[in-house]
Structure formats: structure tokens, C-alpha cells
Amino acid sequence: MQREGSAFQGLGTVFVKELSDNISSVRMLVLELLVVLTALAALYGAIDSLRQNTAEDPFLLLRLFTLSRDPLPSFVAMLGFLVPLMAIGLGFDAVNSEHNGRTLSRILAQPIYRDALLMGKFLAGLATLGVSLTALWLMVIGLGLIFLGVPPGGEEIARSLVFLVVAIFYAGVWLSLAMLLSIVFRSPATAALVALGIWLFLTVLWPMLAPAIAQVIAPPDPRYAALGLQTPDTGLWAQFLLRISPNDLFAEAMQAILSPQTRTLGAVFIEQLRGAIMGAPLPFGESVMIAWPQMVSLIAGTIVLFVGGYVIFQRQEVRA
């Protein structure tokens, strides 16, 4: 049946209201403080070790993102860990709080479709995350300028911009997941716990489980084991399974983009090494091509999870 009127009527209004709610909320302030403080710690470590070996590295700025010094992880690893937390914090009560506050039926009695409400909430969440990540990105560039004193080159800026976009979509995956859970579960506490459970599972447990499962699917060959090598099949399965986790996709994409010498993200084939100069950086376009599947997967994940939530929301009863 054809509906009259635009599905996006009221989208702007919802977007502005949700954005201002997000930005002024105490929850967001705490999450941002957490991310900024840990990011500063990671950057401090990176800057410190960079200053000690004044390198002739052509990608000094990118080192800021990837360099880690014990016991701190690198800036990118830190973000890979904390961005989901921010996204979950924004999304876990998006829809169920409207149900519980009994505002949903009142809002939907206004001349808008449900589409506008859900889409507005999602875009506002994504914009909030985008603003935070852009601020972080600027912070890294600024600190790099101040403490390293080397102006970044064009390619470095381009690569770090790709980092920014991928990070936003990585956050988008978790935001869609949190919103999906906020639609499925009436209680915000349940939605938050399930989201955090999935996050812990995928970041902490899955990297341990995936290789174990791979060994069950493709048992290691004793001949390789005798040589101290990993069986190729087992390795491929492990990587395949790991890629289910958005964290792994994000880490891989970032490795390709921020470390220009990365030639491949999987097993290395002989053809890939033909004529290669070990340690030489790849051009920007090539690096993007290597990370392309990972980036597309993150974007697709965001969309698929959002659509899942959208379908459930459309069919849900309005009454509390």
C-alpha cells in the first residue's frame, strides 16, 4: 500500500533535538573525557618515543596513530577499544527510553512517520560520534605539529582522513547494533548489558576463540608443526573467523591505511612479493585498495544492522 507524504518529514527536527540531547548529556561528557584522556596517554607515549629516535620517517604523523609504547597501546588500538563503548553509550536507550517515558505514542501522533524518528536518532548519534572523532583527529594533528614540529604532508593528511571516515563507520556499526538492541529490548539496562556483552565477546574473547575454532575446522598439519610453522589452512580459517568481529576489520583497515608499507592483510602470496622492496611504502591508492573490503564490510554492517532495527521498529506496537 502506498503511503502519502514523505517518509523524511520531521527528520530534521528529530535530528536537531537528538543531537542537542546527545551533546548536552552528562553521559556523553563522561565518555568523551574517558576517550580523550586515554587517547592523550597513548599519544604521549608515541610522541615520547618518536622524539627519541629522530627518524627520517616520511610518515611521521601516521606514526602518532600507530606507535605504541609499553604498557600503553597505540592510539588506534585504543580507539578500536573505546569507540564501541561510546557508540553503545549513545544508542542503547534510543528507542526503549521513548517507550518507557511514554513519549513514543505522543511523538508518533504528530504528522511524521516512524522512519523519520528512527533515522533522525541514528543520524544524530552518528553525527555526535563524528564530531567527537573529528575533534580527536584534530587533536592528534595539532599535537603532532606542536611536539614533532614537522608539518604533515598531503598524503599523510589523506591517509589520516581515511582513518577518520573508517572510524566513524566503525562507530556506526556499534551504534546500529546498540539501537537495534534498544528496539528489541524494552528495558534499557538489558539492552546495555547485551550490547556490552557482545562488545566484550568480540574484543576480548573472540580473538582467543577464533584460532581455537579454526584448529577444529582445519586441524594443524604435523609436518608444518614440525617445522614450527602454522598450517596455511588453519591460518586462513582463523583470519576468516576473526573478520566476523568489526574490531578486527577496523584494525586491519587501519593497518593498511596508516602503515603504508603494509602489502597485504592476509597470507602473503609469492606473486605479491615479486619485485617488491621490503619495507617500501605503497602509494595511497594501493593502500586504500588493500583496506577496501574491510571498509566496505564496516559500512555494510552499519547498514544491515540499521535496516534490521528499522524493520522491527516498523512492526512494533506503539502502545506501552
Binding site: E4, G5, T13, R106, A109, Q110, P111, V318
Partner: protein, 328 residues
Amino acid sequence: MSDQHNDNPTPPPDAIITAQGLTKRYGNANAVDAISFAIRKGEVFGLLGPNGAGKTTTILMMLGLTEISSGQVSVLGFNPARAPLQVKRHVGYLPDSVGFYDNLSAVENLAYTAKLMGLSLKERTERIADALTRVRLADVAHKRVATFSRGMRQRLGLAEIIVKRAEIAILDEPTSGLDPQATIEFLELIAELKRGGTTVLLSSHLLDQVQRICDRVALFKSGRIEMMGSVAELAVQVLGAGFVVEVEAEGAGIARKLSTIPGVTKVETLSADRYRMTAERDVRPDAANAVVSVNGSLKRLSVDEPSLEAIYARTFQVKKEGGVRHAA
């Protein structure tokens, strides 16, 4: 008798909402079972019935907020399933125990919905200030809604309908949970809406209030409209008579004389000098005449107006005897 009965679905020319065979199924159960009604422009129409009888579901179908399983409903000439935005532009809805964003003030809450209605900034400001004055919330306009009492929230919900300048106001259990003073104030506001020309549809299970303000009512029972009409009409239909007149008089042959009054259906003798008559109209003058005509001495004459409570109790009592009613 009701002129708009289930089996006679020709809407009157001034009908603003008409439903025909409206049905909502959840699985195999019919939450709303083929109901038909017509609501006239400018009247206050009450939906009555126990919880789970299908009142809210009917309302949500009229707003296009839940799918219609079968049948038709037309609101202001629009089909809510096809043109929900048109319907929602002209219909104000105050849900059962309405909620507002607690972190925003009364004005901010109304501004948000007014923006969703598509009002310009100037119109918004004017209408919101005006509406808050009308519901007597102007002095707390900039306070956070978190501090509001239930009665204030309900009035704020009504202010939203006023801001919308809705032609139809649908109020779902608007006075449940309010204290008596707040209830009286709220009913007065509803009466004001009606005077302003708004058609009001309200669902409730608080019978005396419904009786006080509704022009017509529909009695819902397990998804069906059991009966519909004004309270007096229903009284005749259910109780057999609308008015109960009690006469206290001394004299001989009073009971016999009273029973000859036209319109009286029954005369009971309660004690030596007390009689109770049930009648289709207010027969007090005739009763007084009757007593005087047999040379009796009249001591007291009182009338009970038809009570919705009695109608309601009778309707649901009959059903219990008839069969098992599943709790909804």
C-alpha cells in the same frame, strides 16, 4: 434507541469519524471485532469499557498507529492507513498516561512537537504561550517537566492539542490517576475544547465523569460495541427505564394510582408509606398529582437520574451469566 447501531452503518451527514466493520486481530484473538460507529462533528463521544476491551486499539487504528486487520475507518474523510500524515495533522492525541521529556521544560517539549507539526517559529511561540495560559501552566512554562505532577502533565498534553488546533481531540483515559480537584479542572478544560468547536473522543472507565461530559457513549465489551447512544437512551435500553422516582406519602391506594401514570413501568412498595417507581421520563409532577388526587399527604419526592454506573454494571453482569468472559 440509539440511532447509530452496530447493524445500521449509514453515517449521518455531519459524521466526522466513521468506522465500518473495523477489526484488529492479534493471532487468532480479535482485539477489536468488527465495530461500526459514527461520531458527529462537535460532540463529546465516550468510549467506555473495562481494560482490554479494545478502546485504545480502536484509537490507535483511527490514528494509523497500528495496522487495521479488516474493515474501514475514515477520519475527516481521510483513510488513516493510507494518509496517516493528513489525519495526524488534524487530530490531537493525548495517550494514556502521557509522557514528556523530563530534561526539557514545558515550552521546549511543546516546541519540539510544534516543530514536528511544521509550525513556523513565530506561530509556535504565539500558540504555545496561548495554550499554556489556557491550561493554566503559564507560570511553570520554563520549569523542567520532571517536576510536574500528573495533573500538570495531563494539562500539558492538552496544551499540545490546543497548539495543534486539532479538529478532533482523542483523549485516552485522560483523568485516570488524577485527584478529584485535578479531575474537575481537567473536565472543565475538555468542556472548553468542546465550546471551541473541537470534537472530543474520550476513553475512560470512570463512569460518572463520562456521564458528566459526554453527549454520547459507546460501551465496549471484549472488542465489540455492546451499545451506543446517549446515557438516557442507554438507560431505557438496559434498565428498562431511565428514571427512578421515590415517593414518600401517606394515604390509601397510592400505589395503584401511581401505576396508572403514563410512562411508568413498575411500582414497588418499599414500606407502608414509601414507593419506588421506574419510568421512562421524569414523572415527579404526575406523581405529586396522583398522591393529591387520592387525598394522600406527600412527604417526599425524589428522582434518581439514570446512572451510567447502573447501566455499566447491568451490561457486564448479564454477560457473566451468559458465558465465560476471558480476561484480556
